[in-house]
Symmetry: C2
Subunit: 201 residues, 2 copies
Amino acid sequence: MTNFLPKSVRSLIEEFSKLPGIGPKSAERLTMYLLHSPHSKIEPLGRAVMDVKKGIEFCRDCWNIAEENPCAICSDRGRDHSIICVVEEILDVVAIERTGEYKGLYHVLHGHLSPVDGIGPEELKIRALEERVSKGGVQEVILATNPGLEGETTALYLLKFLNNVKGLKVTRIARGLPIGGDLEYADEQTLTKALQGRAEY
Amino acid sequence: MTNFLPKSVRSLIEEFSKLPGIGPKSAERLTMYLLHSPHSKIEPLGRAVMDVKKGIEFCRDCWNIAEENPCAICSDRGRDHSIICVVEEILDVVAIERTGEYKGLYHVLHGHLSPVDGIGPEELKIRALEERVSKGGVQEVILATNPGLEGETTALYLLKFLNNVKGLKVTRIARGLPIGGDLEYADEQTLTKALQGRAEY
């Protein structure tokens, strides 16, 4: 059907379609956009794709991506090294950093426990967290895994061994109504959590 | 805020964000996806982006993109060279070819008339169409520009000179209710066109 399109065009459509959230129609549109762009716009994208992993490693402390080791956050003396915020993904670090509210360190698990998908504790950076905490110097661990079945399960799993660390405070990010949300349309679980987590004025 | 991300990661996010329909969040997600992919998956995408224009030219007859000149469609002796379907974009050719219903040739205008955007007849492949039709041998021109203000204006503009070509039939693709559409929710213009264009059983 699209056989009449030049091979280079067909293969870019195909490559774009492989990306998550990009269907065949979007892939076609992106390809046409690039086809109508000057080489000076196309080349930086191609280069950025090819080079995305260049010089990148995982921080040996927090397992975030980094250019140096330990990463910029872990080696920042201005941050509070006694607090560790545990998240599932690198983008969760990005989201929390955007708030500008958090000055502690992170620990990226690279996923959540999911027995159906064959993801157990060994597949995540859980042992690394154990080692990190048991070295001492950490006063609080904030469990910031996603508020869903897998995230809660993962948080509970971590809680088991974190509770055994003497003098360590373990907290969970608050779950409740999102800002701008509508109580009327909130699901029962969110509303339950919002009530349970109510705080005094 | 995302300063802690490696430079290569930030620049891919930036490049992805420049693409139409890809917001900053999608750009981040696409970048993370590639970051977690093996090099064997990243490289073909980068290469396909860089090479998309390689060996591509516009067909000197129909102005579709092509690897040879004239293009595969124009040089196909199995197709009906007496019918030309005029479309705005290359992707319109893709859409019509997908139906498998059309066996004539095409003419790609590369846009529509839009005085507000400074796009007049000279910016489109209109003169090329005039020359093509005046050479003779064409019996029907199907105007398949989009059914919207600009598309209709463009079609009417083309009609002016096409009507002066002796023995040429000029048609417009049907406008009406889309299949699966709901009469109740159709806008007035579409419904008007659907009534005007009614055909006998």
